[in-house]
Amino acid sequence: MAATITDEDTQIAGPAKPPITAYIGRIASRVASYLQAVPLALILGFFFLLPILMIAVVSFWDYDFAGLYPDFLTMNYTDTLGSWVTWKTYLNTLKYTAMVWGLTLLIGFWVAYFLAFHIRTTTMQMVLFLVCTVPFLTSNIIRMISWIPVLGRNGLVNTTLIEMGIIPSPIEWLLYSDFAVVLAMVHLNTLFMVTPIFNTLMRIDRSLIEAARDAGANGWQILWNVIIPLAKPGIAIGSIFVVTLVMADFSTVQVMSGGQSASVALMMKNQMSLLQYPAAAANAVVLLIVVLLMVAAILRVVDIRKEL
């Protein structure tokens, strides 16, 4: 009897002891993980998730000049989707997005390529990269305003061209035009392309390029068949940044077009200033779906998960 009990005891206590402490340790570390994640979850829950759910709810509400009334109307959606102004505004926003995306990709890629493959010391690379990054950390609005003395009717470009005798009178479309909007957007957002592309280019194994050259590839073939495919994740991340920022832009469009052009976000902003929150919320839901579809499309083309 006694022998069997001790035998049972050792069977329970002996092999079970290390798993129990390990188990407690695992629980403790799991609790620690939860506690460490709680602040982020709370902040994003209250200031990100809740507001978006609220927008989805409010987009079905009724409203007048005095307030909002809980309801379930599709009026806000039919109003906005039934108006050709909305469609024209979306088309205009998509036009800006396409142009800015193309230009920032072109400029951003070559800047990143130059930094990654032609600058030989790491210190110099970092210095030049910082030179590109610093303006990103200053005010967008100031950087927008700074184009006014350059592009204006009596601005630097016009006065220089007139003094050189190239044009007889100031070019009117430099400022307060689509040209100015796209120029300012490229100015503001190219950094978002440069940084992720530079990051992926720096990680490319240089021996791959040497192998391609040994195998007889010329410069363009190396670029097209080796470097660009390997830079795709960076291009995708940069594209997500630029596309979402331009799709959501209202201040650049307002300031640089002088109020002559519209974007979806600007339309929303105007509705908000008229306190038409449910109408703005319906627009927000549509815009959100469009933006998320664009992001999903980019992610379908390029798998960026291994970059994170």
Partner: protein, 273 residues
Amino acid sequence: MSHEKRTLEFYVLAAFFTLFVLFLYGPLSAVFILSFQGPEGGLTFPLNGVSVHWFFNLFEQQAVGDFGASFKRSFTLGLMVMIVNVVVSLLAGLAFRRKFRGSTVLFYLTVASLVVPSIIISLGIGVVFQQFGLKPAWYSSAFGAHLTWTLPFGVLIMFAVFNRFSPAYEEAARDLGATSWQTFRHVVLPMIAPSLIGVGLFGFTLSYDEFARTLMTSGTYNTLPLEIYGMTTNVTTPVLYALGTVTTLFSFSIILLALAIILVMRRRQAKVV
């Protein structure tokens, strides 16, 4: 590759890069020069004399806005966002080192916060505060709105840092008898400190310059970017450029300060190792 002769490609791209830098800084320098416009000068070149008239004008009581008070608000808000950004990103970075239930959802929520248009978040927070009967203010609703933009950057930076962080250092400290707090305080923290400064810099500057997310959430009192935005439509004197010069120089000095701290830390670490 490092001893090859410079090719034509190098010179073409170097010229392109130079043009790009000029494109980035050229307009800013125009604002900088024009802020020293003489008292009679206008918004465009040529300079009508050189003076610091507009800088003095800036600090006088304005008819259109109160630059001093809005600067104080933006500065305080930036500091608040910076501190919360560093602490919360660090904690989340530590949490993500282990897989826990909901970690994937939380991670995608963080990334989504970066992708969702800022004006939608601004509108959403505005409506939430209105419906819950809360009063929006720069230190509550705008504070939260800024965090939805700065936290993803902070968390992704910490994510990248800890992905490349070898657990061998912590194991060594533990083997030598350090408690988990001592391991964190004396081993992990000094190693990631430069990245934390970076996270803090992002938090401060992104908040200090944030505009779209503040629009519907700032309540009665404007932050500096809102004030500047208002001035773009109302102000027709170079005082606007003076304000631009002052805030840009302020941003530059914050960036330089952060870089200097990071450099000093790196150097000290190199000495220890």
